[in-house]
Amino acid sequence: MPSPSELKERIETALPGSTAQVDDLTGGGDHFRAEVVSDRFAGLSRIEQHRLVYDVFGDDVGGPIHALSIKTSTPPGGAA
């Protein structure tokens, strides 16, 4: 069963320089919310930003990760 810390690590590994805060929304290990800050998002549309995060997990989203709510932003004062 995926854990918030596992998701956080996968995001931060796949998107170097990013920071992620991941919460388990229900405590059931399958509904998560991720707030991700990365300068990789600069200049990208929301769709493209969220895809970058979904892509970290591939088929796990919709599988073991039933739902992943995402909020993306660029670092304050960063390259945005």
Binding site: R46, H50, Y54, G62, S69, I70
Partner: protein, 133 residues
């Protein structure tokens, strides 16, 4: 029904309906909180939209995701283009971008409007006849 037919049906639904929502359940009886929130947002904006329940056949979701490259439900399309899922729709609603895109009027108090919206109060969304099972 073949997978190809399901794909064509989804293609047509996206092409023929300016505002097309794929969700779990129906706008009146959503089967998931994320779907409920997104349908509620469209109701609050008082826009006409078509809706298709992905639950009756797992292949609907598989073909939709293959086509859109988006892994989760709901998925909102406007003018044939994927706008996003529940999070993006909510963000765009709060900033007024969604109202602008849909040519709708932003409710004076967006938060209150979503909370209070009941499907009965608004023009009912068009339901696509689900011939996929």
């Amino acid at each position: 029904m073949t997978n190809e037919e399901i794909k064509d049906f989804i293609d047509n639904a996206i092409g023929e309906n300016r505002v097309m929502l794929f969700l779990k359940g129906t706008p009146q009886q959503p089967a998931c909180g994320f779907s409920a929130r997104t349908a509620g947002t469209l109701n609050a904006l008082d826009v006409k939209y078509a809706a298709l329940d992905v639950l009756p056949d797992p292949r609907i979701r598989e073909e939709l995701t293959a086509l859109s490259g988006w892994p989760t439900i709901p998925q909102l399309f406007v003018d044939g283009e994927l706008i996003g899922g529940a999070d993006i729709v909510a963000e765009m609603y709060e900033t007024g971008e969604l109202a602008e895109k849909l040519g709708a009027e932003q409710p004076a108090e967006p938060e209150a409007a979503v909370a209070q919206t009941t499907p009965e109060r608004k023009a009912p969304p068009m339901q696509l006849e689900n011939r996929l099972d």
